[in-house]
Symmetry: C2
Subunit: 751 residues, 2 copies
């Protein structure tokens, strides 16, 4: 039986394979049992599900496809005519569906390049073209009206000339290795691969290390012909493609660089540009691998370590030089208007409790994948929600759809709106639900862990369009086979709920979650939609429709998924926040941090011993410049007890609340208020050390990773950055926020 | 203190660094305490050491350098005029040092190419040049007299035309993955990278899978511009370089393909060429990455998995086709004479006990690194040994120096001599000590585990020329930092003796160890002498002297190292065989094999479950051809008790023998005989299943790895190849040889 099915699966055509898969999966397809939804009782749950069935029939892929084609017909970055046009078109659609729509405008700083010059001046000469090639068969790539050339927004102006140093991905670990080679970037221009960290980290760290400029290129091993055929033969990055993107110091604060913490309305006090701490210290320019090749080829010095090699047909060298480049960048530091479309559908019974659902509308270019594939799903959802309201299913809570402008340069539209409306949002916002560019494959959900259980219900209820099983089951299967650790693979088999990822940064949830303490989530599909169009001129309708999600079948699934999230939060008599899922995850983070400290302690001790005893001196090749590791101060033992005691208390409170919630009793308005504002207990007005804008003490983007999340960031980053004397204080702070949440839950139970 | 030394080390010049290293290593430099050598008593040990001090002064690097230059002045493969000339020159030197020298001749089959044609015939046309470029500044590369073009010896003749299939390294695991893509090589031509297994495995497996031809190329990611600058800018393989080499089925038997098991003397019965099972079934040709590029670039089909990607600036595809090639190979199947130089220095007190010390003299080309860097060290050693004999230190046992011919095409010279003299060797040979091409860096010793302790004494006594510490201490430091597993790193810190590697194949020890059961070892230095000259036209004096071991400083160290091994074995009153080191290693192998079975059992069960339940169907991209793994039969539990009981008994016997040996009493002639013939207890006349030439049941080259060793091969390969019904029988056989060795040790103790 095993072999015959197997043989059949392998030999059959693709169409047959899909059928065969459905046949052998015993637990396949969406359960017809339909358990009672968390936060509902049997009757309200059945009614909610009935509405969702109707909701699904209202999602129209053909209409989504028309919107996608129309909105992506031209470049539509913030400040461009098309961005305003799209905002108005989106507003008109939402108005036509009876939403109460406003366009919220903010005046923000947005640099556009005036001068971009990059030349190799020694030992040979080469002038980088800095141009992307139009593609036959992709008409959009010939429509360059208002298209921004390749650049990194919020690079400072400057003209520099110096030798190149190759810094791999430009992460802290890379600089540590570079130091072992005796190579410094001080006074040099760093050339870094894209990847390994968020792009903004590269000029930030290079600048801290003394570099006077940074180039970032997409290495073909990571993002080019290595992973697959290049556009137009395949979806991957061709040799002229350049990833644009912001390099503002978002881990310090996102949003308009001149107005940290306040909405960039017309009359607000603004920093001068010189004062703005999130503009880079040194000029930085992204380039294609075609432009990078002559530069890298002209480099000398030590050969890079094996892990640093890329996919160009050369030996990679660290430098410095002899390749010497001149880089000149000048920007038009314009004030532009960001147009956020805000559409409101008033709740019937709990209008003061708001569900906010957003996706940005601005792109770096034609932006078919990023962000329009997400926004067309959100629009389909918004239309269906309004139709349901008209047909007798109005939402109990208020739903607000937001189409953000200026996300690309640094989450500017959403951040300014969130800062502008901070007080009312902290009072009224139940949750913020985000989407962005969408792909094909497995569901990805990141978010506040109190929503883990909520999203697992949705994952179980939405069908994967390629296999017919639930998207949860498909994700579970993927983690079971491809999960990155044994723990993950085992949990995929045995844990009843799949974990949702903690959120770092990279899209518009950041101001809601990490600045305001609003429970947030980010949803999307991916894993089978490889490609290299991201932030290049090739992110077109043609590329998206051919290579990423042909027919928008996952666009429809995203609308179904996010629509359920919106509608269930809007209607649940008791808000479906689960604190046991939260404590289970936090418990894991504390274990991780303890292990991190133990591993660092052991590694540091071993390394220092091996360095002191001269072992490295015996191992390294004396004819090479590569030296021993740099000794580091020993890692002390830390007292994690306060944090673990606070967690233990919270676990008790969470269990007690769970007993209450499981009675199925509807929550009072006040109980619901106490529930959704419980996430506010996890933020502190003081914020994180050195970056007070970030106030959440469970989730933050890493100060040296950018988008990558750091959970319990105060404690974790103090240890990672070897600021040992700060650890105890940060443990106390983390314990305090957990205790505050426990007190809140006790209050809920007592009422 | 830590930091200041560190800073000093990093900032100082190289010359300073070496001094600094010596200064901080507290346990550095060779101990002056000079413990009594194993197998000697205090007095004979002191005398031996005194002799060795004198020995060191006799090693002359300048003379070695002259020999190296002279012997490598022209290509000198078996059958070439220069090979005969070198043999005669070596014989003349040894005769001049008063050795009793003969040139032992064997008549062996050796194919030389007549026709080598490789063309891409579709979808475009390209004719491979199959030529290596001469290099300005390396005069040897312009001296192509008698130079063999690039080819694989013992490829069959043939002309084939078919589509290409990319098979990565052409290992069993690669074909398993290829099957998941639905790609078969049947009727196709396989194109494989060099590496991952011994080259002869590639056409062997491709042929078993139905391919009609094989191309092997050196991918620049592994062996070209990836690891470093290419020749002549650096030591690495340039785009025209081709690795020659034998592809005879050495894991079945090495040596002359027509005379398995017997010496290829003039009158012996020979197989016909058609009968010879070790000639490949399909034609195979090695090519450069310059010639491979147009072929690979023209391929289509699925994109290769990430781990299979190489370093060419293309997307790698699996095929089959559309690239279609025509390959035509014709060979002159010549009978040539192999000239082994055999030089004998009669022992004074135990002339019937022979220490055999060998290194081959034939090369694929100029052969400076391979093999001449080894042979000049052996000659320096032989000269010094003869000078010592003249000055009052004649060896107690007979020493035989052997310079083998025809190693490159398949260990032919050594194998024929060993087969020819099998009976007397089994009676008289104490040990076989091998060297081959030498490099720079760390000492590497592989060999019979009874010699582990012996070699650790030598490692402790020989000084590393770059750091001034013992070569053992330097190797220990390297394992401590770079050891491939935690076990290895911990043992480097804590185990008193460093392990010596078990021997697979790849040089002339194989017939002695694995066919005749003579304790053997292979010695050399490496780790800091990267490069790509191996078996190319660029293995010249110029390349070697510039990039591998300038000044032959490690050539001298090798002579010191191997010379000590020869002299100590020749003089030890009790042969320094240690059986506790042997049992400790064998115990580890048994554990490894049990873990292997357990891991295979668990993995097979998990995979089969995931396949049967359809999980893979949910994970894989339905738009791609990549399918689930192939289900495999469940792995049963095996009874390892007989093997472990035999080992336990052997451990007792080894401990008892150790007690005897540690008394310091000299051994009788008969005790020494029983000692050195103990290795014969580990072979069985029947040999391994399917390859009776290989008779050793502890060490064998892997049937599907080629050079890579398989310890306790009968048991291990039966499990690996999932021949479960053979495992119990193989466990019994392995138990039997261990028991036989225990009986032998008991006999030694009782006498």
């Amino acid at each position: 039986m095993k072999h015959s099915i197997q043989t059949f699966l392998r030999r059959s055509t693709l169409a047959f394979r899909c059928l065969a898969i459905a046949a052998v999966v015993s637990i396949a397809t969406i359960s017809s049992a339909q358990p009672t939804l968390f936060g509902f009782n049997d009757s309200t749950s059945a009614q909610q599900r009935q509405m969702e069935t109707q909701f699904d029939t209202l999602i129209d892929r053909a209409e989504m496809d028309r919107w996608l084609r129309e909105f992506s017909s031209q470049a539509h970055h913030v400040g461009s005519p098309k961005s305003k046009e799209n905002a108005e078109a989106i507003a008109a659609l939402l108005r036509s569906w009876n939403y109460d729509v406003e366009i919220a405008e903010y005046e923000v700083l947005f640099p556009e390049p005036l001068t971009r010059e990059l030349e190799l001046v020694a030992p040979t000469r080469f002038t980088a073209s800095l141009m992307e090639d139009p593609i036959d068969g992709d008409a959009s790539t010939s429509n360059t009206d208002n298209l921004l050339p390749s650049y990194n927004a919020f690079s400072t102006d400057g003209e520099v000339e110096a030798e190149l140093v190759f810094v791999n991905y430009g992460t802290p670990a890379d600089y540590e290795l570079l130091e072992r080679y005796g190579v410094s970037v001080a006074g040099k221009i760093a050339i870094s691969k894209y990847g390994g960290s968020w792009r903004g980290i590269k000029p930030k760290l290079a600048g801290e290390m003394g570099a006077i400029g940074t180039l970032i290129y997409s290495d073909p091993a990571d993002d080019g012909y290595g992973p697959g055929d290049v556009y137009p033969e395949g979806p991957y990055k061709n040799d002229s493609g350049v990833q644009r993107g912001s390099v503002m110091d978002m881990p310090t604060y996102p949003g308009d660089v001149l107005t940290p913490g306040v909405g960039a309305t017309g009359d607000v006090n603004r920093l001068s540009r010189e004062e703005a701490p999130t503009i880079t210290q040194i000029p930085v320019l992204p380039i294609s691998y075609r432009d990078a090749l002559p530069l890298l080829e002209a480099m000398g010095g030590a050969v890079v370590p094996k892990e640093w090699r890329g996919g160009l047909p050369i030996t990679y060298h660290l430098g410095p030089g002899p390749a010497r480049v001149r880089l000149k960048l000048e920007f038009d530091w314009k004030m532009v208007t960001a147009y956020n479309v805000i559409a409101r559908l008033e709740g019937t019974s709990m209008p003061d409790q708001w569900i906010i659902r957003g996706n940005h509308h601005d792109g770096w270019n034609h932006g078919a994948a990023d962000p329009l594939s997400g926004i067309v799903a959100m629009l389909a959802e918004a239309k269906a929600v309004s139709r349901l309201a008209e047909s007798g299913y109005p939402p109990a809570r208020t739903i607000i759809y937001a189409a953000w402008d200026a996300e690309e340069p640094g989450l500017i539209g959403s951040t300014e709106w969130a800062e502008h409306h901070a007080a009312e949002l902290q009072e009224h916002a139940v949750a913020y639900l985000n989407t962005d560019g969408n792909g094909r494959g497995f569901v990805n959900v990141g978010g506040s862990h109190v929503l883990e259980r909520f999203f697992n219900e949705i994952m179980s209820d939405v069908e994967d369009p390629q296999t017919g099983v639930s998207v949860q089951q498909r994700r579970r299967a993927n983690l079971r086979i491809n999960g990155g650790s044994e723990k993950i693979r085992n949990e995929a088999k045995n844990r009843s709920d799949l974990r949702i990822s903690p959120l770092g940064s990279g899209s518009d949830y950041t101001p809601f979650l990490q600045h305001l303490g609003i429970a947030s989530a980010n949803m999307g599909f991916g894993g089978h939609s490889g490609g290299g169009s991201y932030h290049t001129m090739y992110d077109t309708y043609e590329h998206y429709s051919k290579w990423i999600d042909p027919g928008l079948i996952y666009g429809r699934t995203l609308a179904q998924f996010a629509g359920r999230a919106t509608l269930r939060l809007a209607n649940a008599p008791r808000l479906p926040f689960d604190f046991q899922g939260f404590t289970d995850n936090v418990s894991g983070y504390i274990e991780e941090i303890e292990t991190l400290a133990d591993d660092m302690r052991e590694k540091t001790a071993t390394d220092n011993l091996d360095i002191d005893s001269g072992v490295y001196g015996l191992v390294l090749d004396p004819t090479k410049t590569f030296g021993p590791p740099i000794p580091k101060p020993a890692v002390p033992h830390f007292n994690f007890a306060p944090l673990k005691n606070a967690l233990a208390r919270l676990e008790d409170s969470a269990a007690a609340y769970q007993n209450l919630a499981m009675t199925g009793a509807a929550a009072s308005a006040n109980q619901n208020y106490l529930l959704y504002t419980s996430e506010r207990e996890l933020i502190r007005e003081e914020g994180l050390t050195g970056r007070p804008w970030y106030k959440h003490h469970i989730y933050a983007p890493g100060f040296y990773t950018g988008y990558g999340v750091k959970t319990i960031p105060g404690v974790r980053e103090a240890i990672e950055q070897r600021q040992y004397n700060q650890v105890a204080g940060q443990i106390d702070i983390a314990a305090e926020v957990l205790t505050n949440l426990a007190v809140r839950l006790d209050e809920l139970v007592e009422r």
